[in-house]
């Protein structure tokens, strides 16, 4: 009894060429993604009410490396603007955008659903409800006043609570549970929490502006506090999701086939959902509800660079981060000194950009 294939190279079949490689991240795309991140960082630090020369900014960024001490020609105040205001904000944009796009790409793979976004399982509704509870209770001198409940903490706890509730409801069917039941449970939990949020806002109309300011998202930050909060979740989510990028390709053939190929689809799915949800909750707690990035960036990458999750996930993380950091520049400079909510800018810029990508991809693909 012999196998059809040998597990060692056994002579090259006719027509084989060195160009035939499995799907994977091509170096050119990786360089493009890193260049986009760098460009977004320099733009985020250079542009603002006080314009700073990009060359000097680049020198100051280099000065952050250990052992480097170059003269950028900037004043002490300008250096402080870079290191304590703009740089942490740009880095937070990179982390939040990267997390949302990575989580969106992972959800699309896990659920085999192109419409999946990071808020699919109730993260947005849970965070929104919890933040509304805190703001309205604090605003009217309610029960939560005096407790150390900050808005980011409430958003994080609300997001994780909602996803946990979705998981428990979606798993209630025992063996009959499926990705579809989980999505439906997410819809039910979101609807329930959104209704609760609407009721609270109706009862506390004086808090509406404050709640909506949070719902529309913002990257306002002072110092590195938010970056330090989000960074561990970013690293955890990135490691777990990126390590599973090939498994997501295998899952794309369906659970039965993935099982027959030796995987545990259910186990991989729940691990990825947990990692992506944790990262999304951290992003939401730091920046509010920023829409669009988590669904459009992975699709743009898919159209331009390839449909394998080995390509989509790392590039979504890089381009998602760069996209959000750049939109934040627009959000804080377009109507200065006022800031436009970043969620509005992501939709206004991202929509036409995605149409452009779609059109060019159609031309390329015929």
């Amino acid at each position: 009894m012999r196998q059809v294939v040998t597990n060692r190279p056994s002579g090259q079949p006719e027509g084989r060429s060195a160009a035939a490689r499995p799907a994977g991240l091509r170096p050119g795309w990786l360089v493009a993604g890193l260049a986009a991140v760098l460009a977004a960082l320099v733009a985020g630090v250079s542009l603002g009410p006080i314009s700073l020369p990009p060359g000097s900014v680049a020198v100051e960024l280099l000065n952050l490396l250990p052992g480097v001490g170059l003269d950028s020609g900037l004043t002490e105040r300008e250096v402080a603007i870079i290191t304590e205001l703009r740089l942490p904000r740009a880095v937070l944009g990179l982390l939040v955008g990267g997390l949302l796009a990575l989580a969106g790409g992972a959800y699309q793979g896990v659920f085999r659903n192109p419409l999946a976004d990071p808020y699919l399982l109730g993260v947005a509704a849970g965070a929104g409800f919890a933040v509304t509870v805190v703001i309205t209770a604090g605003g009217v001198g309610g029960a939560l006043t005096g407790l150390p409940v900050t808005i980011p903490l409430a958003a994080f706890v609300g997001a994780i609570g909602a996803v946990t509730l979705t998981y428990l409801l979606g798993s209630a069917g025992g063996r009959s549970r499926s990705p579809a039941t989980l999505i439906l449970a997410g819809v039910a939990v979101s609807a329930f929490l959104s209704a609760g949020q609407t009721y609270l806002l109706q009862r506390n109309s004086d808090s509406i502006q404050q709640v909506y300011a949070w719902l529309l998202g913002r990257l306002a930050t002072a110092g590195w506090h938010d970056v330090r909060l989000v960074l561990p979740y970013f690293l955890l989510t990135a490691v777990v999701v990126l390590l599973h990028r090939r498994e997501l390709d295998v899952l794309s053939v369906g659970d039965d086939e993935a099982t027959s190929l030796g995987l545990h689809p259910q186990r991989s799915r729940y691990l990825l959902i947990a990692a992506a949800s944790l990262g999304t909750a951290a992003a939401v707690s730091a920046s509010g509800l920023i829409g669009f990035v988590g669904i459009i960036v992975p699709h743009a990458v898919r159209l331009l660079a390839g449909s394998s999750y080995r390509v989509i996930l790392p590039l979504s993380m890089l381009f998602g981060g760069a996209f959000l950091a750049l939109t934040d520049v627009v959000a804080r400079t377009a109507a200065a000194p006022e800031e436009i909510p970043i969620g509005v800018v992501t939709a206004l810029l991202g929509g036409p950009f995605f149409v452009l990508v779609l059109r060019s991809a159609r031309r390329v693909l015929g």
């Binding site: 012999r2 190279p9 090939r246 030796g262």
Partner: protein, 271 residues
């Protein structure tokens, strides 16, 4: 004497609380081609999924002498490869990438393909005359070409037991023959064991060493194609009127209209 490739004893499967298979026994020798036939809903696909370890079952299933529950998933995937009735075609995936999925049992968890895996995939593509399609998107291929790619992915698994669920249901008669000839060639060349389900009884009889007729979740008949493809058995279990003709390689089953059907063209009264 070596253990059979497949040994099924008193197999019971319930789906959503409904019994689909009840007390099925099946033994398939190494190198044998067994085709499972039966009317719609008889439990053919369920039997294949149970043998492939894709369903929780009652009773016992052993592959090459090892109870299936004792095989780790990756080890099982090196022993048995399944081609589903309508495999999912992932959007944008190339033929090479699809065939490489078959190497998953040999790739470390969270790892990536080695050069040996790539060589194995190219090897299978060459053997199945698919090298020219290597970089094509799977979704753009015709039904016959796709079916060959599905088989290539299964062969890339390096498994010696092949489970084929309706492998020719979407193909025209020429492509049906191409695909089954290919499977038979590879089976003979590499000593593979094949368990297939099929609806086309004549073609099923031409290729199978033995046939199993399932009806209402139980084995209604088993034996050589000549023993199973009889007018009486097919009438009883398919409720079909057929003629069975003796062919060179096996019985040929021809559906005929029942004797009770009206003759000729219905007359329409003018005016």
């Amino acid at each position: 004497m070596s253990a059979p490739a497949v040994a099924v004893r008193d197999l019971r499967v319930r789906l959503a609380g409904v019994p689909v298979l009840t007390g099925v026994d099946l033994s398939v020798a190494t190198g044998e081609w067994v085709t499972v036939i039966g009317p719609n809903g008889a439990g053919k696909s369920t039997l294949l999924r149970a043998v492939g370890g894709l369903l929780p079952t009652g009773g016992a299933v052993s592959l090459f002498g090892t109870p299936i529950q004792q095989l780790r998933r990756r080890d099982r995937a090196r022993v048995v490869a399944t081609v589903a009735q309508s495999p999912v075609v992932p959007a944008g995936m190339s033929v090479l990438d699809y065939v490489l999925l078959g190497r998953t049992p040999y790739i470390a968890p969270l790892g990536r393909e080695s050069t040996a895996d790539l060589a194995a995939a190219h090897d299978v593509l060459g053997r199945l005359d698919l090298t020219g399609f290597r970089d094509r998107e799977l979704a753009t291929l015709s039904g016959g070409e796709r079916q060959r790619v599905f088989l290539a992915r299964a062969f890339a698994q390096g498994a010696t037991l092949l489970l084929l669920d309706e492998p020719t249901s979407a193909l025209d008669i020429g492509h049906q023959q191409d695909v089954l000839e290919l499977v038979d060639q590879l089976r003979r060349a590499h000593g593979l064991t094949v368990v297939a389900t099929m609806h086309d009884l004549s073609i099923a009889g031409e290729y199978a060493d033995r046939m199993v007729l399932l009806a209402d979740g139980q084995v209604a008949a088993a034996g050589s194609p000549r023993e199973v493809l009889t007018t009486e058995l097919l009438a009883r279990h398919y409720r079909a009127t057929v003629k069975v003709i003796d062919g060179e390689r096996g019985p040929l089953v021809v559906p005929v209209r029942p004797a009770s059907a009206p003759d000729g063209v219905p007359k329409v009264r003018a005016g």
